[in-house]
Symmetry: C2
Subunit: 193 residues, 2 copies
DNA sequence: TTTATGACTAAAAATCAAATTCGGTCATTT
DNA sequence: AAATGACCGAATTTGATTTTTAGTCATAAA
């Protein structure tokens, strides 16, 4: 049996996109790494963008699996959610691809890179929205628009974990994030309940 | 009495920065609008950036006065804050300079434009932080870091008023923003208090 | 016959020098 | 003493030229 050329291509592309980003990855390079003729790539993928989407799709699937694993149906909503989001952000931090592509998308508005990020965020948002819906059904959360709530929730989390540390220069410890998250989002800041 | 050349310059600069942004505003143009020799500008301001800062300073002062006016010491925190923030955002929407400069800062990383925005945000944040501190002192809000709370608060507001409408395509009515703001920030989303 | 290949092409991007623009200065004018 | 605008050098823009690269296709290998 001959080698699985498609897998070789995907593997090589993932490696190159990860290391060099979207723009700096050439199809010749992918072919060279995969030890495959360039034309071969085009038997599996119509163009560079589709190849990239395949990589991102795998990536998103991996992350979602991770988030899914972090959910323990027995534990309360807050705890599950926090653990899942922390896992995802950690994963993001470890795997450079995401932050590299985020940068690339903001600096150069590469359409494909933008799509990759968008798919990422969309998947994460859907996942959280579903979790919110479940929690509402279980009576753990007040009735609300799950999609909007998920959006607000993720934004708040990024505010606490990414934005504020960048502004103030001091990142929070995990415990602190947990506490602040409860204060600002779950319990509310108002004194008179 | 001769004309007040400084005022002429400031007025002309404000007009030009507002209409064309930082980069596209030339000192020759400002001089022409102000009907003043270019050298005259440099008797009042060391350079273009300082001229710009003067404009921004006036602008920030105007906005803060607006926010201050929106605060009624007799009314509850939530109401005051909401009204103040809404006024500020409305002001931003009306006066193009802000959004123009925000764009300019993101597209081209003009240092001066960045400074202008930063000063803006900083002033707003300080204002809100103070309001939060007062509310905590009055026992209306739980004890918290006022600066961080202000940051989270403003971010949430922008999420609701700017980001989410851009994502979902449908802006909220003022009433809705008020309600969501209370749900997500003041009262908290958790069902079990 | 089917699959794989890499030389080839058209188009996009990088390069680079000439031309232009613009912030800031200063000798002259008012 | 205050105001001015011609002037200067640095920075930016332009556009012609070269290089790179996504995608094709005639040929070779399996």
């Amino acid at each position: 049996m001959s080698i699985d050329r498609r897998a070789e291509v995907v593997h090589a592309a993932a490696k190159s996109f990860t290391m060099f980003g979207y723009k700096a990855t050439t199809m010749d390079q992918v072919a060279r790494i995969a030890r495959v003729g360039k034309g071969t790539i085009y038997t599996f993928f119509d163009n560079k963008e589709q190849l990239f989407e395949e990589i991102m799709k795998n990536f998103v699937a991996e992350i979602l699996a991770l988030a899914e694993r972090a959910i323990d149906p027995g534990k309360p909503f807050a705890e599950n959610l926090h653990r899942a989001l922390l896992d995802v952000l950690n994963y993001r931090k470890e795997h450079e691809l995401i932050s590299r592509l985020t940068m690339e998308m903001k600096e150069i508005g590469t359409a494909a890179a933008g799509f990759g990020i968008h798919m990422m965020d969309e998947a994460l948002l859907d996942f959280v929205a579903e979790a919110v819906q479940d929690a509402v059904a279980k009576g753990e959360l007040k009735p609300c628009d799950p999609k909007l709530t998920a959006y607000v929730l993720v934004k708040l989390f990024i505010t606490l974990v990414v934005d504020w540390p960048a502004v103030s220069g001091q990142p929070f410890k995990e415990k602190d994030v947990m506490r602040l998250f409860e204060l600002y989002f779950l319990d509310g800041i108002s004194e008179t309940s």
